[in-house]
C-alpha cells in the first residue's frame, strides 16, 4: 500500500514540480550542445568522411582519428569536464529539488534558497559516495584479478572463468545498487534533519535501507527496469533508423532528445517516489511521536491543574484566615464601640457623656477604623482573589514555558531517535 502510494505520490509530485525536469533537461541539453557545437560546425575538404555519414567505414574512421588526434584529445577532456560540471550542478540543485518535493510545488525563491543552503552538505555526501563507489569498484576488480590469476595458474578453460566473473560482477552490481539506494535516502535524511553529520546520516540510512530492504529494492528495480527497457528500446531504434540524410539525422536527434528527457523524468519520478516513501514513514513516526507527546502534554496539564488547585486552596485558606482575622478585629472593635456606647448610655453626666461621644467620633476617624473599613472593602471586592489569580496565572505561564522547553528538547531527541529503528 505504501509502495503503491509512493509511486502515485511520486508521479504527482514530479508532475507538480515539472519545472525541476525542465531545469535538469535544460542544463543537460545546454552543456551537451555547447560541448558538441564546435564539432558540428567543423568541416573538411576531403570526401572520405562522407563514407561515415551514411554508414560506418573503418578506414575513414581511422583516418579521422589519426587526422583529428589532437582535437579528439581536447574533446575527450571536455567530455570529462562537462560531466563533472553537470554532476556539480546536480549536487547544487538537489536541495531545491527535494524542497519542491516536500512542498509539492515549485517555488523559484525557495528552490534557489534551498539549493544554496544544502549545496555543501550534498557535495560532501556525493563525495563520500563517489569514494565508496570507487572503493567498491577497485575491490571487485582486485578480487576478480586474483580469481582469474588463480584460474590461469590452474589452467582452466574459458567456461570456468565465466561463473566467477558473473558472480563477482553480480555482487558488484548489487552492492553498487545498494550504495545508490542508500545515497538517495541519505539525501532525504539530510534534507529533513538539516544535519551536517553526513557520515552519521549515511550510517542511519544504511540501517533504514536494511529495515526497509524489500520496499526500497522494489522501488529501485522498478525504475531501473524501466530505464533499462528504455535504453534497449533506444538502441534498437538507433539500429533500425539508418541515418543517410539530414532529415533522418534530425529525426534521430529528436528521438535522442526525447529519450534523454524521458530518462530525466524517470529519474525524478524515481527520486520523488523514494522521497514519498521516505516521508510516509517519516510522517508516521511524527504522528506516533505527536500522539505520545500529546498524551504527555495532557498528563502535564493535569498535573498543572492539580497543582493550581492546590495552590488556589492554599491561597484561599490564607485569604480566609486573613478575612477572619479582619472580622475578628472588626468584632473586637465593634465590641469596643458597643462597650463605649454602653458606657455613654450609662453616663448620666451630660458633659462627660458628650466627652465620651466626642471620643467615639474621634476614634472612628483613626487608622484602625480605616484599616477595618479597608479590610472589609477588600473582602467585599475580592481584590485579594484577583491578585491570587494573577499570581497563579504567572505560575501557569512559568509552567507553560517550562513545558515548551521540555517539548523542544523532546522534539529534538525525537528527531535524533527517529531513525534509531532498532531501539
Amino acid at each position: 500500500m505504501e509502495l503503491k502510494s509512493s509511486y502515485t505520490n511520486g508521479w504527482n509530485i514530479s508532475i507538480k514540480t515539472y519545472k525541476n525536469i525542465l531545469i535538469l533537461y535544460g542544463i543537460n541539453f545546454l552543456l551537451a550542445l555547447s560541448f558538441s557545437i564546435g564539432f558540428a560546425t567543423s568541416s573538411s575538404k576531403s570526401l572520405i568522411y562522407n563514407n561515415l555519414f551514411s554508414d560506418f567505414q573503418f578506414t575513414a574512421f581511422i583516418e579521422f582519428i589519426i587526422n583529428y588526434k589532437t582535437y579528439l584529445s581536447i574533446l575527450f577532456n571536455q567530455f570529462l569536464w562537462f560531466s563533472v560540471l553537470y554532476m556539480l550542478l546536480n549536487v547544487f540543485i538537489l536541495g531545491g529539488i527535494l524542497d519542491s518535493f516536500f512542498y509539492k510545488k515549485f517555488d523559484s525563491d525557495r528552490f534557489w534558497k534551498h539549493s544554496k543552503m544544502f549545496f555543501f552538505r550534498y557535495f560532501k555526501q556525493s563525495l563520500y559516495f563517489l569514494i565508496l563507489n570507487l572503493v567498491l569498484f577497485v575491490l571487485a576488480f582486485y578480487i576478480l584479478s586474483i580469481i582469474f590469476s588463480q584460474l590461469i595458474e590452474k589452467e582452466a578453460i574459458e567456461t570456468e572463468f565465466i561463473l566467477p566473473f558473473f558472480i563477482v560482477l553480480s555482487i558488484y552490481l548489487i552492492l553498487a545498487s545498494f550504495l545508490y539506494i542508500i545515497s538517495d535516502y541519505t539525501k532525504f535524511s539530510i534534507y529533513f534533519s538539516e544535519s551536517n553529520q553526513i557520515l552519521k546520516s549515511i550510517w542511519k540510512n544504511t540501517k533504514y535501507f536494511i529495515k526497509n530492504f524489500a520496499s526500497v529494492l522494489i522501488l529501485f528495480f522498478t525504475f531501473t527496469s524501466i530505464i533499462i527497457f528504455l535504453i534497449i528500446f533506444s538502441l534498437a531504434m538507433n539500429y533500425w533508423i539508418n541515418v543517410s540524410n539530414y532529415l533522418s539525422l534530425f529525426l534521430v536527434f529528436l528521438m535522442h532528445q526525447i529519450f534523454v528527457f524521458v530518462r530525466i523524468f524517470l529519474r525524478l519520478w524515481f527520486l520523488s517516489s523514494q522521497f514519498s516513501y521516505f516521508t510516509i514513514g517519516f510522517n508516521k513516526k511524527i504522528e506516533n511521536k505527536k500522539a505520545e507527546f500529546e498524551a504527555l502534554d495532557e498528563k502535564a496539564e493535569a498535573i498543572s491543574q492539580e497543582k493550581f488547585k492546590k495552590e488556589k486552596t492554599v491561597i484561599r485558606q490564607g485569604k480566609d484566615e486573613r478575612a477572619q482575622a479582619a472580622i475578628k478585629d472588626i468584632n473586637v472593635m465593634l465590641e469596643n464601640i458597643q462597650n463605649q456606647i454602653s458606657n455613654i448610655e450609662k453616663e448620666a453626666r451630660p458633659e462627660i457623656k458628650a466627652q465620651l461621644i466626642n471620643n467615639l467620633i474621634l476614634a472612628s476617624q483613626t487608622e484602625e477604623w480605616e484599616m477595618i473599613e479597608e479590610n472589609v472593602s477588600h473582602i467585599k471586592q475580592e481584590n485579594e482573589i484577583k491578585r491570587v489569580i494573577s499570581i497563579l496565572d504567572e505560575i501557569k505561564q512559568e509552567k507553560e514555558k517550562e513545558k515548551n522547553q521540555k517539548k523542544e528538547i523532546f522534539q529534538k531527541k525525537m528527531e535524533d531517535d527517529l531513525f534509531e529503528f532498532d531501539d
Binding site: L31, F35, S36, F39, F56, I62, I66, Y86, M87, I157
Partner: protein
Amino acid sequence: MKTLFLLFLSFWFWQNIFAQSSVSVLSERIANYDIEAVLNTENKTITAKEIITWKNISSDSLNEFHFHLYLNAFKDNKSTFFKNSDLDDFTDLERGFIEIKKIKILKKEDLTQKVRFIAPDDHNLDDKTVFLVKTNTLLPPDSTIQFEIEFTAKLPKLKARTGFAKDYFFVGQWFPKIGVYELENKVDSTSWHWNCHQFHSTSEFFADFGVYNVELTVPENYIVGATGILWDEKVNANKTKTMLFKANDVIDFAWTASPNYLVFSDKWNDVVIHFLYQKEHENQVERHVEAIKIALEYMEKHVGKYPYPAITVIDPPFFGLEAGGMEYPMLITVGTVKFLPQGIKIPELTTVHEFIHQYFMGILASNEFEEAWLDEGFTTYFETRIIDEILAKNGSINFMGFKMSGIESRRLGYTNMYNKRVASVWNWAWNFPNNSYGNLVYNKAACVLHTLDGILGRELMDRIIGNYFDKYRFLHPKTDDFIDLATLTVKNISGDSLSNEIDVFLEQAIYGTQICDYAIQSVENKHLEKGKDVESDGIFSQIRVQRLGDFQMPIEILIHFEDGTELTEKWNGKSSHILFSFKGKHVKWAKIDPKNKLLLDYRFENNSFANESQHGFFVKYAEKLMYWLQNFMQFLML
C-alpha cells in the same frame, strides 16, 4: 627392441612402397624421416628413435651435415629465441630441451661424440638449436645417407607454439631435423651451402620435402592428431596405443595429443577434414569446418590444387591457446573461445589463414627465415580475399555497430606503424627491428599484393599467382622468382609498359622502404575576365596533385564537375606534383585512386578534395557526441 624396431621399419618400408606406387611423387623427397616416439605424459617427455634418409642433390661430395634441434630454444633464457621473445623466464619444470643420446650413420660410424653446436645467425654460443657433425667418409652427389638418431625430448610448458599444458600436448619442432643444402642465393651461383638457421621467435620453417613415417605411442585414452594420415593403430598391453602416421612430400611433422579432444570428420571433394576440438567449443565446429571448406575451394579455384589427402584442424583448449594459430604441413591449429559472437570472425579468419599456409609455407615452402613475406604476405593477402569476399562480407568484425573488413585491419597494421621506413618487407626474419616483423611481413606485404591486384586486375593477378604456384611448388621459390614470373606474365599479356611498371612497383614495395602518399592539394575554380593573359571570359579550374611520399607509381585521378560529368586523368606519379587545368567547367571534387586500388597509400584523407566543405559527417557525429555526453551525464546524475 632394436630388432623389433628395424622389423617395424622394414614393414613400413614395404607398405610405403605399396602405398607410393599408387600416389604420384610430388617432390624430390630429399629429407625423409622414420620416427618411433613414445610420449610420457607424466614426465612430459618423448623418447624416440629416428632414421633420417637424406639425398645429396648437390654437385658436392659432403662430409658435414647440419641439423636443427629446435626444442633447445626452450632450454634456458640464453637461447636466441628466448632473448628475442617476450616470454617470462621458464622454471626448471617448464623448460624444454632435446638431448641426443646417440647419432650414427645407419649401421656405420657413430657420430655422437662429433656433435658440435653452431649459431650461424647470431653466433650465440649459448644457443643450442643447430648442430653439425662431420663424417669420416664423403657422401658423393646423387647418393643417400641414413642417420640413426636416438633422442629424448623434454617438452616445455606451452608458452609459445609447442609444449604441454596440463594433459594437453602440442608437439612441434620436436625431433632432430636436417638442414637444407642449397645453392647460395646469388645470381648464377654454383656454390652450395648449408641453410640451417637457428630457432627464432618470428620464424621456424625451411626444410626439404620428404616422406614421414611416424609411429607415436601414447596413453590409450589419448586422441591424437598429426601431420599426414593415420595409417595404422594398435593397442598395447601397457594401456598405451601406437599410431602410425604417414605423410608424403611435406617439410615437417607436428602432432598433438589430449584425452579431451572430440573429433569431427568431414570431406571436401577428395580431401578429408579432421577437426579435433574441445567439448566447450562444440557450438563452433560448423564455423571452422565451413571456413576450411571455403578456403579449400577458393584456393583450388584461384591458386592450385591442394595436393594432400587430408587436413587436420586442431582447436586447442583455452589454457593451450599459445599453440593456436600455427601452421604445419597437413595440420593447422586454430583458436577460439566458447562465447565468441558470430559477428567476430576470429575462428574463420584463423582457420582460413592457417590453411592458406599449406600453399605458401607447405607446398611452395619458401625460406621463412630469409623471405618470410613469401609465406606470410601471400597468406595474409589470400586470407583477406576469402574473408572479405566470402566468409565475412559484412566485416571480419561486425559487432554492435562496429565494422571492420579483413584488409582494413591488416592495412591499419601497416599504416599505423610509427616508422614505416624501419625495414623493407624483404628482410631476414630476425632482423626486423622494433617488432616490425608482423606489420611489414604480414600487413604491408598483403597491402603490396592487394595494390598489385588493383593495378593488374583480379584475372591477371590470379594468373600470375597460379603460374607461380604451378612452377615453383615443392621447390622453395625466392622473391626474385616471383617478381620475374610476375613481370614476365604481365609482359606476355599486357606488354612491356605495364610489365616495367610492375617491376618498378615491386622493387620499391618489396625491397625498398619508401612510403606512398599522393594528395590532392587544391581544387580552384575562378571566373576570369578577358585581359592581358586571358584569351576570353569564363571559368578556369585547376587541380593540384602532389606526391608527398618517395614511393613512385602511376595513379588515376577522377574529376567530378558541377554539371555531373566526370573525367579520369592519369599521372605517372614521378614528379613532385602535377596541375590539371580545365576551362569552362566548375570542378566539384577530385579524387585520387577512385577505385581504391592503392592500399599502400598510407593516407586516404588527402586523396580527395571537394570545392565545397563537407559537413555531413561532422554534424552526424556531433549529434552522436552530444547524445553520448547527455547519457553519460545522466548516468552520473545524483
